[in-house]
């Protein structure tokens, strides 16, 4: 079962709708002891970094998530969730990230519109045995900061300069794009990503998609 960390960092409405549509079992967990006993842990975030980190610290997730990842529990970070999993961010230079994904998150720009809010084509840098080819696909982004591409980067997009769209280190995956807001293509990629993390749908997915 998929566990969504509930810490006030983002709305879970659309992600939970996507889970229902694709047939994945899921639950919310405000604290680590409320997490499902197994399955991926999903950290989705939006908005400013510091309050999100503070909320994760207050709920115990900040301490527990690296331990769970070290024990082999799959982790998925989406948007700000990816930034939190990284080593650090220019958005909060004095605070370190969880360091589950290598690299530093940097502000987009200069000379581009920030926030980057819109649909961008994605380019695959290297293949992953279980993820589909995403060359030519469009994903939706809403962010002011992004991770620099590095050794664990699977795919990139460009907004002024290339930035990481998807990172994969072992059983930890980070995605900058809002897959749950990226139409059929995003949902298909989300389903495959959850498959990489060992989760399978428990019921047949709904036929239609928007």
């Amino acid at each position: 079962m998929i566990t969504f960390i509930q810490y006030g960092g983002a709305s879970l409405s659309t992600l939970e709708g996507a889970m229902r549509r694709m047939g994945f079992e899921h639950c919310r967990a405000g604290t680590p002891d409320q997490a499902a006993p197994e399955g991926p842990i999903v950290l989705v975030g939006a908005g400013p970094l510091d309050p999100a980190c503070a909320a994760l610290k207050a709920s115990g997730w900040w301490r527990e998530l690296p331990q769970l990842a070290a024990d082999g529990r799959p982790v998925l970070g989406i948007n700000l969730g990816l930034h939190i999993l990284a080593e650090g961010s220019e958005e909060s230079p004095r605070g370190a990230g969880l360091g589950l994904i290598p690299g530093i998150v940097r502000r987009l720009g200069p000379r581009v519109k920030v926030p980057h809010w819109g649909w961008s084509p994605v380019r695959q840098l290297r293949d992953h045995p279980l993820l589909p080819e995403i060359r030519g696909g469009w994903l939706f982004f809403a962010h002011c900061h992004a991770l620099e591409p590095g050794s664990e980067t699977l795919s990139i997009a460009v907004h002024g300069r290339p930035f990481s769209v998807m990172e994969c280190r072992g059983r930890t995956v980070g995605v900058q794009a809002h897959l749950e807001k990226s139409g059929c293509f995003g949902l298909a990629l989300l389903e495959k990503t959850l498959g990489v993390l060992g989760e399978k749908p428990r019921s047949a997915p709904a036929a239609d998609c928007n």
């Binding site: 709305s11 409405s13 659309t14 939970e16 709708g17 996507a18 229902r20 549509r21 939006a46 908005g47 400013p48 720009g109 581009v112 519109k113 920030v114 926030p115 980057h116 809010w117 819109g118 649909w119 961008s120 084509p121 469009w138 939706f140 809403a142 962010h143 002011c144 460009v158 907004h159 809002h178 749950e180 807001k181 990226s182 139409g183 059929c184 995003g186 949902l187 239609d208 998609c209 928007n210």
Partner: protein
Amino acid sequence: MDAKRIIPVLQVAGGLVPMPGSAPGHPADWACRLALEGADGIVFREVPGGGRPGRELRTEWLREVAGSLFIPIALEAPCTCLAELEEALEAGADKVILDAALAATPTLAAAVQRFGRCHVSVAVDAVAEAAPDGSGSRWAVAGRPGAEALAWMAELEQLGAGEILLRVAPEAPAGALFQKAARLALSVVFRCDGDPAPAAEALLHGADGLAFPAMGRTSADWKSLLSPQGLALRQ
């Protein structure tokens, strides 16, 4: 290159979509239909009327929409306080659009600080008027006496707005205004009344997206109309 966004604006009154001459529809049903027609996002514009007004009803239908729609959602509603904005974002709106009056108050800065600039846009209505020095005409801002449109948009950028939804009165060509607005470091989306000529002009001169009335042409129609212009569009 980012795609120019094609965004239908759907009116919602009392939690329902008013339908001329027939029974009102549910926003979630309409949203799914608009997404299937190729929309790159949807603006839900709350207007007076309908049965049950209120914040509770808004979060109810927004949550239903967000749970069944897999493209971005913006809410344009007469929210008056941060708690109201937070409720909308928590229910599933990806951004809230403030009107010019609210943006002129400390609400904009406070909203940006609390929710981040990705999630806060401002609606601006530009109208042509005679320049005060008699040197011809200039773009003013409806509802903000004395304000010049470009200067006001630059101020909104400084205040932290993440995007501007710009309506331009039809009496003067909007291309020059969008050419200058494109130099701002934030997205500017043209809100049109359904007329393709000014829409194409705005997009060709730098507008990042097109917001149009949902009850007219479909997103697919707009993309067919605009793609021969060489604009980047998500197909």
